[in-house]
């Protein structure tokens, strides 16, 4: 293997320091981002598990016009405003209608109405949207939305500095990047083991991590990047928005006369005919019943990066209006930039292969982050540092291990909480979130009393494993949908249960096999070297 030329000495040390400082500063937040993000990839797939009201058989055969007229009878829809219909999907088989109308209780106009219906009977189902959370909590945690206003901006900055950490780390590693590509060692000093894993996985995950660093910075800091554009005074924000979203330029005539047009069902057949390989998710209807009525069909195909569509049709004759449409695989550069970024970040391309791959790579990234902290700790476990400094290093590492590793049982606890809190409890979402965050806090606090990092590892694996196995049990007890039954009827409920079963088994097996080192990682005043602890060969075996 050709040996690459590394950095000059001064540059090497400076880049190393940049990498260490950015790494340590952002790593708490970055771990949470990647861990929550991995699960958030499966937002839609979790909905049917978390919300028993969604466990109805899926059908594509729905009378959309009848649905709209039913909602209209109850709520007097204002057809001058947008009417959105969310079509049934395999993950959420309910039909939903959103419009502006009147609530029957007080006849106040201009209220936002949301109605969920069983797709075949069009019988109204009380929207459980306000009563369940698992996917939403994890999704919001991913960009710290629990912190008002600043949360996503903080996440964006973490992403930006993650990019700096990636570049500086790659530069530091550059001279070894080819020669040490497969360097996995099974014995020797812990520092070497962590370093090799950190660098090898770092190199393997490089494209993935760079993509997420940039797309993450985009999503979090878009406002910041837009400030100079707006400050320059040379561009109209409305014009720019129109290039991205041509439907914002639609101007409808408020005085338009009522007129007959094709039914929504007929128009659905037309759009399905023109775009056969894509999932039609939601029509947005403008001026229903009038002569200039329009429908925008929102579609996604989860295959290519430019697969999303907004197909605009006049309802009179079903003609596609290209001027207002954003077509799949036929977009302008501007629209493609937007769609590529979002498709890449959400993993909405390449089907489930990509989602699973991104989940695994996210977990590997979490591992890269932890190994970085452990390298930092073991590299400073020597006489060069004062006792106070070494105690500080240990404290940081301990907090880090406790907060990060406790996320595993905490997430399982969130799923459990979703099932053990009864459905009719008022303010149920707040209660489930409280159980999750309080539980995570307590699980993390427990780790602060452990002073041996391999014990952190083993104990959290064990706790996580037990909680994981409880998830499908709680689902079965609370809803009666045991996983052996849902395999045929509701496969997505089955997959979530099976995921937790596998995770639980693997975690418990790993916790038993983990090699737990003797003694404590806490620095002792008189004997800083502790060479005995650092050798893998001397470590005690399981069950310590």
């Amino acid at each position: 293997m050709r040996k690459l030329k590394g950095l000059a000495s001064r540059t090497y040390h400076v880049m190393f320091h940049v990498h260490t400082v950015t790494g340590i500063v952002i790593s708490f937040a970055l771990y949470v981002i990647f861990y929550a993000g991995a699960f958030a990839l499966f937002y839609n797939e979790t909905r049917q598990w978390e919300d028993p009201d969604l466990r109805v058989p899926y059908t594509n055969n729905v009378d959309l016009d009848l649905a709209v007229s039913k909602v209209d009878k109850l709520h007097t829809i204002d057809f001058g405003e947008e009417v959105d219909i969310i079509l049934p999907s395999v993950h959420n088989p309910l039909l939903q209608v959103k419009a502006i109308g009147e609530s029957p209780a007080d006849s106040i106009k201009g209220e936002t109405i949301k109605v969920a219906m069983a797709p075949s009977t069009l019988k109204r189902i009380d929207a459980a949207e306000n009563r369940v959370t698992v996917a939403r909590t994890i999704y919001e945690l991913h960009f710290f939305d629990q912190i008002p206003y600043a949360g996503s901006v903080i996440a964006g900055f973490v992403s930006l500095f993650f990019f700096l950490a990636i570049v500086s780390g790659t530069l530091v590693h550059w001279r070894n990047v080819l020669t040490k590509f497969y360097a996995f060692v099974k014995e020797g000093k812990w520092k070497l083991i962590w370093t090799n894993i950190h660098t090898v996985f770092g190199v393997i995950g490089l494209p993935f991590q760079i993509m997420y660093a940039i797309t993450g910075a985009f999503l979090g800091l878009l406002g910041l990047a837009a400030v100079p554009i707006l400050l320059s005074g040379k561009f109209e924000p409305d014009d720019l928005l129109a290039k991205l979203e041509p439907s914002t330029t639609i101007e409808l005539n408020n005085a338009a006369q009522p007129a007959a047009h094709l039914s929504i069902n007929e128009l659905y057949k037309k759009v399905a005919y023109h775009f056969p390989d894509t999932k039609i998710q939601s029509p947005r209807i403008l001026h229903y019943g009038k002569e200039d009525a329009m429908v925008i069909w929102y579609t996604k195909d989860y295959k290519g990066l430019s697969g999303r569509g907004e197909i605009n049709m006049t309802m009179k004759d079903g003609e596609i209006v290209e001027e207002y449409s954003v077509l799949p695989y036929n977009k302008s550069y501007v629209q493609d930039v937007w769609n590529y970024t979002h498709a890449l970040h959400y993993g909405n391309f390449g089907g489930y292969l990509i989602k699973v791959l991104f989940f695994v790579l996210s977990m590997i990234t979490c591992f890269i982050i932890i190994s970085g902290i452990l390298i930092w700790r073991t590299a400073r476990d020597n006489k060069k540092y004062t006792f106070k400094q070494r105690r500080f290093h240990h404290k940081v590492t301990k907090w880090y291990m406790a907060i990060s590793l406790s996320m595993f049982p905490a997430f399982a606890l969130l799923f459990i909480a979703n099932k053990i809190v009864p459905m009719d409890v008022p303010d149920r979402i707040a209660m489930v979130n409280t159980i999750f965050f309080l539980g995570w806090l307590l699980l993390a606090l427990y780790g602060l009393f452990i002073h041996n990092y391999s014990k952190h590892n083993r104990n959290y694996l064990m706790l996580g494993g037990i909680f994981s196995l409880l998830v499908p049990i709680c689902n079965g007890l609370a809803t009666g949908d045991w996983f052996w039954e849902t395999a045929i009827r509701y496969p997505w409920v089955f997959y979530v249960d099976v995921f937790w079963i596998f995770t639980g088994i693997i975690a418990l097996y790993a916790s038993v096999k983990v090699m737990v080192k003797q003694g404590s990682d806490k620095p002792i005043k008189d004997n800083p070297n502790h060479k005995k602890r650092l050798q893998l060969g001397n470590a005690s075996t399981q069950g310590n």
């Binding site: 400076v14 880049m15 260490t20 940039i214 797309t215 985009f218 720019l240």
Partner: protein
């Protein structure tokens, strides 16, 4: 393994470099894109490229600030780019 402190700057120089990297990098990377946009026939292309490009450039500027030894050199480069960009935005029709 930890960086040898003899190569690392301290005090004002360190503060200056952090400012150059974070604030200076932001100013230089974003104004370049606006300057290019103002002079193009399809400005929306350059402007939407800012969504990913400005963060890429910002990161590269941050690395440059630390690659170069003296803080005043990186500050000069960043200020030069920013001032040139702002001027070309101002004089554009």
């Amino acid at each position: 393994m930890p960086a040898n402190p003899k190569y690392l700057s301290s005090g004002w120089k360190r503060f200056s470099k952090v400012m150059a990297a974070v604030l200076g990098g932001y100013a230089a990377s974003t104004t370049i894109f606006v300057a290019v946009a103002v002079h193009s026939s399809k400005p929306e292309n350059a402007l939407f490229s800012t969504t990913y490009g400005s963060f890429l450039l910002w990161g590269i500027f941050m690395v440059m600030v630390y690659w170069v030894n003296k803080a005043w050199i990186s500050w000069s480069v960043i200020l030069l780019i920013t001032v040139l960009s702002v001027l070309s935005i101002a004089i554009a029709p």
